[in-house]
Amino acid sequence: MKETVEDLAIFGGRPLFSKTQSTGQLHARPLENFLSIVREAYDARRLTNDGPIVQRLERTCAALHGVPHCIAVTNAGIGISMLLRELAATRNGVEVIVPGFSFRGLPHFIRSAGQTPRFVDVDVNTHTLDVVQVAKAISPDTTAILAVSSVHSFGSRDELVRLAAQRGVPLVFDSVYALGGQYYGRAPGAGGTAEVFSLHATKLINGFDGGYITTTDAQLALRLRSQRNFALGSVAGWSPVAGLNGKLNEIHAAMALAVLPELPRVIDTNRERFLKYKSELADCPGLRLLESNKPEVESSSHVLNVLEVGEPWPYSRNDMLRILRAEGMGVRAHYSPPASRARMNPSDVPSITLPVTDYLAERSLQLPGGDGMSERNVQDFGALCGFLFRHSCDVSAMMAKPYACK
């Protein structure tokens, strides 16, 4: 453990972790389950094109979410673009309402669908769309609301559903972080017009990369199935939008199916890790692990632990990023810059200022999680934070001298 300030890796000391710890779940056990399902695909010589393993995954996920329709797709981003293009086809506008404090890919998914993002600010506690702001933003130009569940909260889901219904606007949930959580005792999946989930390796269900859409709308499900396969085949009474290859392959589906039975255990382990983080940070004023303020209503899978760094903690979020990265922690700035000001936004999407979004984007930090982050690792991290707090004057003074930092 660190004894002097010079022991910190940022000043040339030995890093706390020999291997960089990832923020992602990266769960892939048991390996033999995966290989045996791959063998089915191999023996059947069927590797893609809506194969039996993808169909099995779709049935399993539909049951998990309690919905009649699940459509597996190449990845969640493609799923969102497919949905937005489909929903816009029967409307006149071009705007999709989306939270500013969200993943930097969202403006791209919206532009891919031929739509324009209309960024709206978020609630400071739930980090999800502020319903009052959404109500003001809806216009005849709105083709959809793209609501995003945060890592710790479903937000004002019911109010959004009511508002969207009243105003006749389709509501799509980006539920990537909602997977494994519950809202009023139920799994997400049947909210709004449709919900989109991810099978990226860093998420709760590892399908290498991949995603799926859930919906209760049978016609929409049919149209999406046609769209993901180059709009081949016709859906009665519907003129198709441009199709694409939005298919999930059998090998990715095999991995997702192999890890699905492990889900309850993975969520339990995540919760234990979250609680350990929380207890380790109990004596670190100004460091707050995000958690729901309505635990009686909602729960989370804790697939991602996000730390808010604020006063009286003596270091900024960016200082913490530098210090912790040097120690071998794969920490990342969370939604920073936010989607509403992302440097990588398409050239025709201007940056805008949103007070709550910008405030949160300066203080949020993703912590390592998943199988690679053991209880002992979390304990070491807690001890490091304690050390940083106790030696904040010396550390801050040395960090102010550029030559002192490695």
């Binding site: 673009s81 003129s239 441009a242 298919k247 090998i251 990588m344």
Partner: protein
């Protein structure tokens, strides 16, 4: 053979399992298993992993091209290529192509303008392309149909004269050449497919090749949301990443490319030999002076000679578990939403229509043996001999209906 011996008329199907047109080449199970095991042990599943990097290097080397950028599928490759080149307005594209060629343009925010093709080359001539150019045209996207080059000096000169981006859909063209040079080196960039139906199989997968360093940076930026200091600003991005599992399949089948090509060629040659005397069924010919991957065994059905239409033959073969394909039928000018676009209204595509009516692909790939080819051709011969009876049967049932 009697009519009732055909599966469509109650007989036993010729094959107990399906014979597909797709390549579906698989590596040895033990090699595949070990590679997949390695991915899990490394805990590196996607996001530009080591196998994807290796595949990019090996594919670039195989094609003799500076950059190969692997992506999630061939359609993603086309979409990323169009977006990252900043194409706007209208792009000219053949009507005789797979839907993804045209759909990728729509997803890139570009208006596709369909162009008919030449009856021999099945790709647009420079003159046909020029007739489609308007003030809004910014590019030309041509398809190397059946791995046969769509590039020509005339097309390049036309693109240069009008300052148009010239790019290629090379999804069918892995390992194929133009005047001895590997496709993948022409125009500003080319898009390949590693779909399971292709000779290199990543289950799904694709790749963009280019010799231009700047374009390569644009393509790499556009396929993910991972930021690097080299990224050109303002590009429309997507999650177009290839996973390590996809790369594993592709690397193992790329390793077996030569043997799979030889096997394709052997089957193609067997089809040519067996069908040479059959009236009204003409096997598509590949140039001896170019390398082709022989993924596709095309036959052109002359209904007036063999007595049956392409679709009648297709259905009769399907009943025998011989699953042919009818690429690219119907032509893109007949597929919504492109059939009603103002750019296409009032125009005709007679060559595309004629091709779409006659062409059919016969089974090929690892699961089809030379003996299977002989049996398929033997059956075709029997069916043609029964054509008058089949036709009479259909006519009598139509009358009854």
């Amino acid at each position: 053979m009697r009519l009732q011996d055909l599966a469509a008329f109650g007989g036993q199907p010729l094959f107990s399992e399906l014979k597909h047109t797709a390549q579906m080449n698989l590596p040895e199970w033990s090699k595949l298993k070990n590679t997949l095991r390695g991915i899990v042990e490394r805990s590196y599943f996607t996001n530009h992993g080591p196998l994807v990097n290796q595949l990019e290097q090996e594919f670039a080397k195989a094609l003799g091209v500076r950059h190969a950028i692997c992506v999630s599928n061939g359609t993603s490759a086309l979409m990323i290529m169009c977006r990252a080149l900043g194409m706007r307005g209208e792009v000219i594209v053949p009507a005789f192509t797979f839907p993804a060629t045209v759909q990728a343009l729509t997803w890139a925010g570009v208006t596709p303008v369909l162009c008919d093709v030449h009856s021999q080359t099945q790709t647009p001539t420079a003159r046909q392309v020029e007739a489609c150019i308007t003030r809004r045209t910014t590019g030309v996207l041509l398809t190397h149909v059946w791995g046969q080059s769509a590039y020509s000096d005339d097309i390049q000169k036309l693109a240069d004269a009008y300052a148009l981006n010239l790019i290629f859909d090379a999804c069918q063209a892995i390992g194929c050449t133009h005047l001895g040079h590997q496709l993948g080196n022409f125009g500003k960039a080319e898009a390949f497919s590693f779909h399971a139906t292709k000779i290199v199989n990543a289950t799904e997968g694709g790749c963009i090749t280019t010799n231009d360093d700047h374009f390569a940076r644009c393509f790499r930026a556009a396929r993910s949301f991972h930021e690097t200091p080299d990224d050109p600003p303002g590009i429309l991005r997507m999650n177009g990443k290839m996973s390590e599992a996809q790369a594993a399949f592709a690397l193992l089948t790329l390793e077996e490319f030569e043997q799979n090509l030889t096997a394709n060629h052997d089957r193609y040659t067997a089809y040519c030999r067996e069908l040479s005397a059959l009236p009204g069924i003409v096997v598509g010919v590949y140039s001896d002076s170019e390398v082709n991957n022989y993924q596709y065994v095309n036959v052109y059905i002359e209904a007036e000679v063999c007595g049956l239409t392409r679709d009648e033959l297709f259905d009769l073969l399907a009943a025998e578990n011989i699953i042919c394909r009818r690429h690219f039928s119907p032509g893109m000018h007949r597929i919504p939403p492109y059939d009603s676009m103002p750019q296409q209204i009032g125009r005709t595509f007679p060559v595309t229509d004629r091709l779409c009516e006659r062409i059919m692909q016969l089974p090929n790939g690892q699961q089809v043996s030379i003996e299977d080819v002989t049996r398929i051709c033997g059956l075709l011969s029997e069916i043609i001999a029964l054509a008058p009876e089949i036709r009479a049967y259909h006519q009598s049932h139509q009358c009854l209906g």
